[in-house]
Each structure stands twice: as C-alpha cells, then as structure tokens.
Symmetry: C2
C-alpha cells in the first residue's frame, strides 16, 4: 500500500481548479428529473439523494480519480483483513489492527479475518446463553424476580454509540425491558439515574476496555455503594465488558465478563460486546443480531470501487469536496427522526476523534485541513432553532439529512389531511431544496442566497437492520476520509495532555490547599487553582 | 441611537491590526498569578476566568473602544425600556419591542418598562394561584387524585429553553413531580413520551404564542386523542400558554390559559410563562421565582459600561475577537455538569437563530461575519469524544467551560482520595490549560500546538438562582453581539422559505401521487418527490 500526502495527489490539483466555479444550485432549470435520478445511489435499504450538493459530472470524475489515486478501497479492504492500520511510521504508536468490521463478519463461511470473526462469534454465543438465562429465569435477583432494567456504565465509545443505538431502537424493545446509561464523572449523573430505577430488578453493565477508565471505575464504585446501601449483593447485579485479563475480568466481582479486543477502537465498538450486551438485553438476541446484519451489508457494499455505487465512499468524497475545496469547516447531521436524537453525538465522537488530527501517517505535520466540526440535532426541532443560520447566516454549513418514509410506532394520526410522518418527511425535503435553491426577494431580509450544499439519506423505516447499516455507513465515511487525508483515524493522542494535567491538579487539590508542594510555586496549574478558589 | 455598520467602526481597524500578532498563550511564564487575577471577573455568583483567551490589555482596551463606539450598553438599556428593537429600517419587518427582561423585572418598584413588568406580575400571580390549587388538591383528576407529571408540548423556543431548565434543576424538584417534553412532529416522539406516563395523573401544557404552530397543534391532537382513547376528558388535563386572543385562548378547551406577549421572542421566552409554568409545577412557585431573581440580577449587571465589570458584554466582545478577528467560525459550550446536558442546545438556538443573519438593521448585506456555529456537550463526556479535535485538529474551536464547585445531589463518594466533583472540576481546569498551553514533544503525534482560546465560568452550585443568571448571561451576550454587528437579533425570516416549500410538498403528497397538478410538471419539488418515492 502507498500512503501519499493529500496535497501530493494529482487529483487535488484538478479539484482545486474545479472549485473555482462550483455548480450553481440556484441556476434555473438545474433540478431536472434527470439530475435527481443521476445523483441518486441506493445501498442496503438507503437512498442517497445528492443532487443538492455542488457537484457535477466533472467533479465526480475528479473525486473518482482522487479515490483511485489514494487507493481508498484497497486500504479499506486491507483494514478489514487485519493490516496494522493504527500506526504512525517511525514513531511510537499503538501498532494495532483495526477490525471492528469483524464483529459483524459472522454470517459468512470465509470471513475477512477469521481469528477476529471467530472471537466475535464466541462472545456472541456467550451473550446468547446469558440472555437466554435471564429470559428463562435462571439468572434472577435474590427474590427470584426477573431483571427489567440494564444500566450501562461507560464513557466515550463505551457510552455514545450504545446509547444512540438503544434510543434509536427503543420502539423494538422487548416488553418490560428498559435501559439507562451513566457516563459522566459528575456525581449528579449517577445520582439521577440511580434515583429512577428499582435496583433490585436492575443489571449493571460496566464497560471499559482497559478496566482502568477513571470515570467508569468511579461510577462503578457509586453503583456498588448504592447496592450495598440497599442491602443487595453487587456481584449478583453487575457484569462487565472488558479486555481479557484486565482488572475487570474478575468472576468474583462480576456476574459475567464479556470480552472486547485491542483491535476494536472505542468509537468503533458499538457492534462489539460494548454495544451488543445492552442492546441484546433490550431487543432480545435475534433482533440485536439484525443490527449486525445491516452493518455487515454496508461493510460489503463499501468495497465497491466505483464511487457512484459505494455510498460511504461517495459521502466521504463529497465531504472532502465541501471541506477542503469549498472551504466549509463544519458538517451538520440532521436526522428527521426523534429516535436518532443522540446519533449526531455518536458521530461527533466517531468523526472528530478519528479525524481531528494534524500529523500524517509518516509523522509529518499536515498542510491541509483534516476533519470538520460535526454537530446536529433532530428535525423538525432544529428548524425552530438553528436553521435560521443555515439559511441566512454568513457561515455556510453543509448538511446531511436522514429520514424515513414510515414511523416506528403505530398510531400516527391525520391532522389537516396529512399524517405526522408525512409532515416530517415533507419538511426534510423542503429544507434540502430551500438550502440549495434559495430565493430572490425585494425585501433583503427575505432573500435566501441558496447554494448551501446538502444530501438526503432516506430509508423505509428505522429498524435494527437499518440502524446497523446507517452506523456502518458513517464509520466507513470517516475511515475513507482518514485514508484520503493520510492520517491515522484510529488513535487519540490528543486526549493525553488533559489527563496528565487533571491528575496533577487533583493531587494538588487533595494536598489541602495550604501546603501545595508538588507543583512549582508559580506554575500555571497552581495559579489557576488559586484563582478558581479550589 | 446610532446604528453603525461594524466595518465602519474605527475600533475594528485597530483590532484588525492587533489580530496580526495575538497574545501567545504558549509563551513561557505567561500564566502568572497576576494574569489570572487581572483577567477574572465576578458577577451574580459566577467567576469568569479569561486568562486563557488570546487577549492582553491592548486588545481589551480596543474592545472597550468598540463597545463604546457601537453604544452597546446604551442600546441594551433602550431595549429594556421598550424601544422597537425588532425591526429593519425601510422594509417590512416585525416592528416589535424586545422585553424578555421585563419577565423578571418584578422585584423593583420602578421597573424599566412598567406595562410589561405589570403583565409579568399578573401572569405570575395567576400561576401562583394555579399551582396552589394543584398543590392543595383543588385541581385534581376525575378520581380526585393529584397530578404528578406535566408534559410540555411546544417546539423551538417553547421547548429548548424550558427543557434545558427543567433538566438542569431536576435535583430541586418537589417530591413526586416529574416533567416531560414533546416537540418533534415525528409521531414517535409523542408515542414514546405518552407510553411512559400515567395520563390520568398528568397535566399537559401546550405552548404556542400564535396558537398556530403546525408541529405543536399536531402533537396536541395526538395527546387529545390519547386522552379520549383512555376515556379521560382532555379539558381537565390540558392547559395552554399562548398569546391573548389566539385560537388557543379558549376556556372551553383548556383548563387554563396563561399569556405571553408579542414583545417576547420564542428563543428568549424561558423566563416568561413559556418556561415558568412547567418549572413552577416541578419546583414549586417560590423556587421557580429564584430563577427569575438570578436572571434579573444579571439583567442589572449587564448595564455596566466598563467591559471588565460586565460579564455578558465582555463575553460578547471576546467572542467577536475570536470570530471576526482571529477568524474562528464556531464556538463550543462545554458544561462540566450533566444537569446542563441540554443547555448547549438551547444556546445553539438562541445564538444561531438570533445572529445567523446577513442583513443589517438598514437592510444592506453585511460585509463581515455574523453569528458563529454554536455547539457542545457536557464534560467529562466530551473529553472521551470530540476533544481530540479541539487539541490536535486543524480547526481551532474557541470554548466556554462552565462548572460548579459543588454537586447538586448529596452522596458524592471519595474514590482514590478524591470526590467525583473534585475530579470533574479538575478535569475542566486541566482542559482549559491544556488547550491554551499546548506541549512540545519529540513524537510529532504527541505534540499539542496550544493557543486554543477558552474561558471558564465557575460558580458554587447549580441552583435555580445560578441557572437564571447563567441563562440571562448568554441571552445578553448574544444581544450585545447582534448590536455590535448591526443586525436584528430578534426576527427569524430565514425559517419562512422552508415552511412554504414544506406546505407545497405536503399538498402535492396528498394529491395521491397519480395526478399531481398544483406544481409545475418539471418543478424541483415534483422531481424530488418522485425521486424520493414519496
């Protein structure tokens, strides 16, 4: 495999030239039936409508050349097979394989990496057994009652993805099964969650790959304390997801431990045991498996080399067009589905932690922009909030709309001749068009400049399968962009400095304030603590 | 009052020159005790620590000159007294006063605007009576049981602010009082909320100033339907907050209607009846009043002309320094408090809908950047998510940290020698320093460039009073920036085009698809609907 600097790719030069006069979305007659049908890609149950991006055939050809020249699909295939993709050449780095796709490569006789797929199958079989025992009343509380709630304790990748998925798929929950999440080291987070559940009917799933995450261990202590206070035995209620052999891999303290492996990064771990245990508790094993099935379908679809048939690759390249060539620093992800409320927060992590980097795979400073700021809220809520800026602000924000033709729940009502779901989808399409088309008006305050690029992702219904496909779609979009920018999307060295400083400050704070000695007298840390009255 | 274009202010020229060599936060010895204490402002129980912004005395002097020249405080005072601040000169516009500050100007004999303050007092007295009746069992359900839950149905300003406040202050709730919110026209939103409450013990508070908001009316219908299905009389359960004389001001259909007035914009309405009814139900009247008391204190503090003693004004000017002069397009708001989970979403609306504008108060296109993209999530969660990009990404993101010295709930535990709250605050301070200071390292992947500007807002505890002050702090920050950019921060013409297109698309969809006639045959709307299989 060749890793070339982004600025050295010859397609980058062509794209810079094309960016001088990008497609004008406000041109009369542009949005023909032909444009809509040509800029439309279907994959794994999703339609991507990208006629409202500032692209034309020439730009797409240049993006294809970029993908080919940077060997994006080749690198993706190598990743799935087990290449050491998490590394920086010539410097100390994690030196790991990147095999989250193996977590769902369990449906074929010949998986891409049989060792990792075998470990995934093994953990899934253990999970199935555990869930069967809970369901059949073989695992119960001290009063022989069944468990009705699972609290997941984790943070970052051990929280955001699993939480987003559980919220998204609540409509498909088994009856009488609820899930809750504790992440923040803020003691008010745990207190609020614990106050709202019946501890005796609750299982607590503590998730930390290393078994040493400070926030998670602290919250586990709070939970154990609450169980003891309630006269209940924590070991009957608390299970773990962790690395084999970690301090949390301890049958004396946990009901059971499921394993994750060092080749699965936290932000890519939602389809590993990190997400599947709580999802399986909520949905039942078979339905949880449909999430893996949807993700696996997208994993396969992402190997297509024609960018107009590869949805994550095309989205990655359009993102690069908007970010590096049209100069737009952010990306809004706008699901028209309340169930996807926390999906943007998951993507924010997955994207910004992966591609918020400044060093190439060869350890040189990049000379081009890497990952954008990713943010978003569900529509139509956002329409009554920040869309003013999207339409008429001076910052141009590219947007991904995500919607569904049918609701999850039954019972949608017609009001004024249309159902709520029709209103929801019509609003999404309308926003996409309004951003692109704009509008002239003699009142300057009612003028809309248009030319604000966006895409629509549309599927029939937010099912477990669709959620899996959507999750994998964005995972691969991020990975393709990282390969193209020649950065390592799989480490997170940028979180280390804050940890070091926090430890120093904590040591200082617990010295009682009077006799601070560990830090130099006039150090920034001591001066800040004094100023903050801490 | 003079409204001058931002680019015509002479201080803008000075600031541009100063921006060529902004304060280097990585310079050894910069963070002296002296810098921390000089760049520290206390107001209404909050400390603002801004030594980690890229400012020095010269920049602050130029920002003071900018504030003086643009007459920011004078305009703010005029707004509070009732000037027609919501207008565009020479063009059709809303032509309204802007008097959300009057909602809390109820503690003085001589309020700034006695008509609006009188109306606020009147509504508060009605609310107090209503809450007394609920508390004393004079307003009960058909079985003479008390009400335990209030669902607020609203969207945008009728949802985000009230929701953020209720989440923030849940720890101060009366026993057995819960609040829920329905906003999205997505039918799954209402279905999920309604499935989780006992309708017979629930009050539903429907909020719409005009009484015509499509999403809210649709959700009200869903709720009324659910009551009828349950054999309950909706008129015993549903109340309204609306404009006097609106279609929702109807005693036959509502238990009671509280009023809001056209001088209160939706995104500034959290301290009007829009927020106070549900907050009052949850907290009790007296505690809810403390929110107003905190907000009012900040309203007074914001009249100070010295920017180093006026917290919202100083934050507004530092924001302009970062956005217009250092060229940073976004702002991250990072509360180290899980209770403030949805406060960034409220600010996102309040800021982006207010200042996402391209037209001056005189109807000319602006030639400078207006409002930034505002986004954020609570820490420490964010540290395990997007902070990688904040530290090492190519996009530089200014950040506001918000934290508290003490938790809301009792029962914080010491783990490894420190409480959770100490860990939380130490992490916040550490992030602030790490972003500013950076770090050199021989491994380029462990190098941190630093010079990433940020501030810390610190208070003792997130009480109702503190929440009120914090809310008003950001409201005024936004308003000061709008005055400085010479834009109208109080209208939202940018939401209209989407509404028009959504209506057209809905009409088209309900024509049954076969015989679409209302729109031109080759219109973008029809082509898009066809392509989306809708």
């Amino acid at each position: 495999m060749h890793f070339k600097d982004f600025s050295d790719l010859s397609a980058v030069g062509s794209l810079q030239q094309l960016a001088a006069s990008p497609c004008d979305l406000t041109a009369p007659g542009l949005f023909s039936s032909d444009r809509f049908s040509r800029y439309h890609l279907s994959s794994c149950g999703f339609d991507l409508l990208y006629a409202t991006q500032r692209v034309d055939d020439e730009v797409l050809a240049a993006l294809q050349a970029l993908a080919d020249e940077a060997e994006l699909v080749e690198k993706f295939r190598a990743m799935k097979k087990g290449a050491i993709m998490n590394r920086i050449e010539g410097f100390a780095s994690e030196e790991r394989r990147v095999l989250h796709t193996a977590c769902r490569d369990i449906f074929r006789e010949q998986p891409d990496n049989s060792e990792a797929a075998g470990q995934a199958r093994e953990q899934l079989a253990r999970l199935q057994g555990f869930l069967d025992d809970v369901q059949a009343g073989r695992i119960v509380n001290h009063k022989n009652e069944s468990f009705t709630t699972m609290i997941q304790v984790g943070i970052g990748g051990s929280d955001l993805g699993p939480r987003a998925l559980c919220m998204a798929l609540k409509a498909w929950s088994l009856p009488d099964r609820a899930t809750r999440f504790i992440a923040n080291v803020d003691p008010d987070d745990a207190a609020a969650v614990l106050a709202g559940v019946d501890l005796s009917r609750t299982l607590v799933n503590v998730v930390s790959k290393s078994g040493t995450t400070l926030e998670t261990l602290t919250n586990e202590q709070l939970v154990r304390h609450a169980y003891s206070e309630a006269g209940l035995d924590p070991a009957r209620h608390i299970l773990a997801v962790t690395g084999q052999g970690s301090p949390m891999d301890d049958p004396g303290r946990y009901l059971i431990s499921f394993y994750m492996y060092d080749y699965i990064g936290g932000r890519y771990s939602a389809t590993s045991m990190v997400g599947m245990v709580t999802l399986g508790f909520m949905l039942g094993y078979d339905r949880a498996l449909e999430v893996l099935s949807g993700a696996h379908a997208m994993d396969l679809a992402a190997e297509e080399t024609d960018i107009r048939r590869n949805m994550p690759l095309l989205m990655a390249l359009i993102g690069i067009w908007n970010h590096n060539f049209l100069g737009l620093p952010t990306l809004a992800v706008l699901p028209y589905s309340q169930a996807l409320l926390r999906f943007p927060a998951h993507l924010q992590q997955c994207d910004m932690e992966s591609n918020g980097k400044s060093v190439t795979r060869q350890g040189r400073l990049v000379r081009w922009q890497t990952g954008p700021v990713v943010w978003g809220e569900p529509g139509t809520n956002g329409q009554h909030a920040f869309y003013q800026l999207l339409h008429q602000g001076t910052e141009v924000v590219p947007a991904d709309f995500i919607g569904f033709r049918h609701p999850q729940y039954e019972g949608d009502l017609e009001v004024k001749g249309t159902t709520s779901q029709q209103k929801l989808v019509a609003n999404m399409l309308a926003q996409s068009l309004a951003l692109a088309l704009g509008r002239n008006h003699e009142n300057p305050n009612r003028y809309f400049p248009g030319n604000r690029p966006n895409s629509i992702l549309l599927s029939d219904r937010l099912t477990p399968y669709a959620m899996g496909a959507l999750l994998a779609l964005y995972e691969h979009r991020i990975v393709f962009q990282g390969f193209c920018w020649n950065i390592n999307s799989f480490d997170q060295e940028g979180v280390q400095l804050g940890k070091i400083l926090a430890t120093r400050l904590l040591e200082e704070m617990t010295d009682g304030g009077g006799d601070r000695q560990r830090l130099a007298k006039d150090s920034p840390e001591r001066n800040l603590l004094a100023q903050a009255s801490l």
